[in-house]
């Protein structure tokens, strides 16, 4: 006989269906809104343009799909970072700072530790990125757990400290003066056959690593006692304390893991070998903030985040191809941002769906 719990916690359980339909509804509303802007800015090409967005990454064939996977990789990781912390009741706005220090650690190792064999070099660089990201989230975690300092404020401050520190450290250690950015790393992620599948795209093994991390986090949250404790603390800290769970330790651990996930995301982007460098500019890393809509759209569930990240990369890539139609690139940016913005309203739709289902059930009784 099949164990009872499988029947209820599989992907087709009612809870998951509600989450899925609400995310899809949110996406549809977002797309509809995008269509409205398209119609306003250029009615004659709006529907053709809309088709381009719908076809997203597929517009560019295999290469386009590869690009989607490439762009999805870092935001899946920052989405995981935000979503994981959120499961523990923490709002990690600091994915940006954790991301950039992770990037620096990866680049530093990637540039300097050239004595390592290439097959190990990228692993060490990636681990360094995870460690740096985790370290960057450690302080807000400790402040939250032991001094009850709001993690939103603490992580925002750490974003700025991270950005300025990395700018300084890059100029001191791995600086390409002429281009005002970091020099190219020697360590590069393996391709694992993805470039044969998606020729001429930037995709690489990083995507597989991101998927692997999604699975790891999914198991951690849903199958382990540690995940159970984290969720208990997130839902009701007082009750978990009452039950004898060490809430403080869990808060710190949760933040550190969230930070490490963001750090890995940075490692996967900057070790991708796509010619991406850390720029010495006073701008917070945007990948960190993109993690927030990804987590919202994915309802903080790891599997949901995987698809949310793919969707946002897909739409972004669709926007890139939309340039072939007669749309000004700046307007396209607005359209894509609007679609993502509206898609993040998935929670609202979840509430509507839950009520709808509840209503139906009561009717049946």
């Amino acid at each position: 006989m099949m164990p009872k719990w499988i029947g209820k916690s599989n992907l087709l359980s009612e809870k998951n269906i509600v989450s899925l339909t609400s995310s899809i509804s949110a996406i549809l509303v977002g797309l509809l809104f995008g269509l409205v802007i398209l119609l306003i800015s250029n009615p004659s090409q709006a529907f053709a343009g809309f088709k381009t967005i719908l076809f997203g990454g597929f517009t560019g064939g295999f290469k386009g799909v590869g690009q989607v996977l490439y762009f999805a990789t870092p935001i899946i990781m920052t989405g995981l970072s935000v979503g994981f912390a959120f499961k523990t009741g923490l709002f990690n706005i600091g994915a940006s700072g954790q991301f950039i220090v992770g990037a620096y650690a990866a680049v530093l190792v990637g540039v300097r530790l050239t004595s390592l064999p290439p097959s190990i070099h990228w692993i060490v660089a990636l681990l360094a990125a995870a460690a740096a990201g985790g370290l960057w989230a450690l302080l807000p975690g400790i402040l939250k757990a032991y001094a009850n300092v709001n993690e939103v404020i603490a992580t925002i401050m750490m974003n700025y400290i991270g950005m300025y520190s990395v700018n300084y450290l890059v100029t001191r250690t791995v600086y390409d003066q002429l281009r005002n950015q970091s020099i190219s790393t020697v360590a590069v992620l393996p391709k694992w056959g993805l470039t044969t599948l998606f020729p001429r795209s930037s995709v690489n093994g990083g995507f597989f690593i991101a998927v692997f991390m999604v699975i790891v986090v999914h198991i951690l949250i849903n199958k382990t006692t540690f995940g159970y404790e984290l969720k208990a603390c997130g839902f009701n800290r007082e009750a978990s304390r009452y039950a004898g769970i060490n809430a403080k330790r869990n808060i710190v651990l949760s933040m550190v893991i969230a930070g490490a996930l963001a750090g890995i995301g940075a490692g996967l982007l900057f070790l991708a070998g796509s010619g991406k460098h850390i720029e010495v500019v006073d701008i917070l890393a945007v990948e960190g903030f993109n993690g927030i809509p990804v987590a919202l759209l994915g309802m903080s569930s790891p599997i949901g985040i995987l698809f949310a990240g793919l969707f946002i990369a897909y739409v972004t890539q669709g926007g890139f191809y939309l340039q072939l139609s007669n749309f000004v690139p700046e307007v396209i940016d607005i359209i894509i941002a609007a679609i993502i913005y509206f898609s993040a309203f998935a929670l609202i739709f979840k509430n509507i769906m839950s009520k709808l289902i509840k209503g139906r059930k009561e009717q049946k009784q």
Binding site: L28, L32, A48, F71, P329, I352
Partner: protein
């Protein structure tokens, strides 16, 4: 019950909207050719843009390389009625630049302009991937990231004679009556060094013409070591102005913004760089320009004239209208258009070996080694 109805209604609206959208796509695709002439942009047929520009990190109206190059491209395209478009890469990385170039090619581009040296590795890849497409690479030459330059037949690599632009700026400033001038460069890269050396020599040449004696012109000289608008750079500029400097030639990207901010506070003047920077601040009296628009325009014209200068790197100077001062927007008191034309002509004709013997970054090691008759250089460390 009511709530269910509401939600169902919402769903209906959504479904209808999408079925409409789906219906709409088909006719739109078939009617593109017929509707195209109706649009305002010349022949904006989907997927057909002959001339393309890829923007680097900034926007199209960045008052810098993107804008300068785009103006030249647009001018030519509109004069000749050629379809044109600019594309924005998804991020700042070599791969993203290459992807944008691929997209432009897919969009029907025959000639692609890439403004700035950030495109060097991308063009290195693209020149092989798209042998049938021509590229104009401004301020750079294609290499794979290690500066081993290889230029294919379809790439026109454009550099500028910065020392001549700097010379004109220095000459005009002294001719206009400024006696205490300054050069604030960004990072000491060859282009910046050439601007600075030219500035010193132009100032000295003008001072000699005016019959001044040694030490009559004081010139402060420094590289900030960055290309950023920082409080440090602003404080530095302010201290120079306080110490008597009347005008600073700011040649270092965003360093100029710091200098302009300092000048606005002390009521002093600035000479801009690369493009006409007069719209950025009323303190900008002139700019040592690279004529991006002109060179793009000329490059495109050559392309259509069958004389595309591909396969090589050229340094554009006064002979090709590659550098100069924007006299129309300059705020000189005494320095007239006639004065400008005269010195410009001397450079073109290489009178007294003015152009050919001008010191540049390869002929002297430091600004202090430039032989000057009047100008006294104070290099600030």
């Amino acid at each position: 019950m009511k709530r269910i109805k509401k939600i169902m209604a919402l769903w209906m609206v959504l479904v209808m909207a999408f079925s409409l959208a789906a219906c709409g796509t088909k006719p739109a695709a078939t009617t593109t050719t017929t509707t195209a002439p109706a649009t305002t942009t010349p022949a904006a047929e989907e997927g057909k843009y002959e001339l393309a520009l890829i923007t680097d990190i900034g926007t199209i109206d960045d008052k810098s390389f993107n804008q300068g190059a785009w103006e030249g491209l647009k001018k030519y395209a509109e004069e000749k009625g050629i379809t044109h478009k600019y594309y924005k890469p998804t991020e700042k990385s070599t791969d993203a630049y290459v992807a944008a170039i691929d997209l432009a090619v897919q969009g029907g581009a025959k000639l692609i302009v890439t403004p700035g040296f950030l495109f060097e590795p991308a063009i290195y890849k693209a020149q092989d991937a798209h042998p049938d497409v021509s590229f104009i690479l401004l301020d750079g030459a294609p290499h794979p990231g290690d500066y081993n330059i290889r230029i294919e037949k379809n790439v026109y690599s454009v550099f500028y004679a910065e020392q001549q632009a700097g010379f004109l700026a220095g000459y005009a400033a002294v001719k206009d009556g400024y006696k205490n001038i300054g050069f604030l460069g960004g990072m000491a890269v060859p282009a910046v060094i050439r601007f600075g050396y030219g500035f010193v020599q132009g100032a000295d040449y003008a001072a000699v013409e005016l019959g001044m004696k040694s030490g009559d012109i004081n010139l402060m000289y420094k590289y900030t070591g960055d290309f950023a608008a920082t409080p440090e750079n602003q404080t530095l500029a302010a201290s120079w102005y306080k110490g008597g400097t009347e005008v600073i030639f700011a040649a270092g990207g965003a360093v100029g913004n710091s200098v302009m901010a300092a000048a606005e506070q002390s009521g002093t003047k600035v000479i801009g760089v690369d493009v006409d920077q007069s719209p950025e601040s009323p303190t900008v009296i002139s700019s040592a320009m690279k004529m991006l628009g002109v060179s793009v325009y000329d490059g495109i014209a050559a392309f259509y004239g069958g004389t595309f200068p591909g396969g090589k790197s050229v340094s554009l100077d006064v002979n090709t209208d590659g550098v100069g001062l924007p006299m129309a927007t300059s705020k000189w008191q005494k320095f007239s258009q006639a004065d400008y034309d005269a010195i410009y002509d001397k450079l073109v004709k290489d009178t007294d070996g003015l152009a050919s013997t001008m010191k540049n970054d390869t002929s002297v090691k430091a600004a202090t080694e430039i032989p000057t008759k009047v100008v006294k250089i104070t290099v600030v460390e």
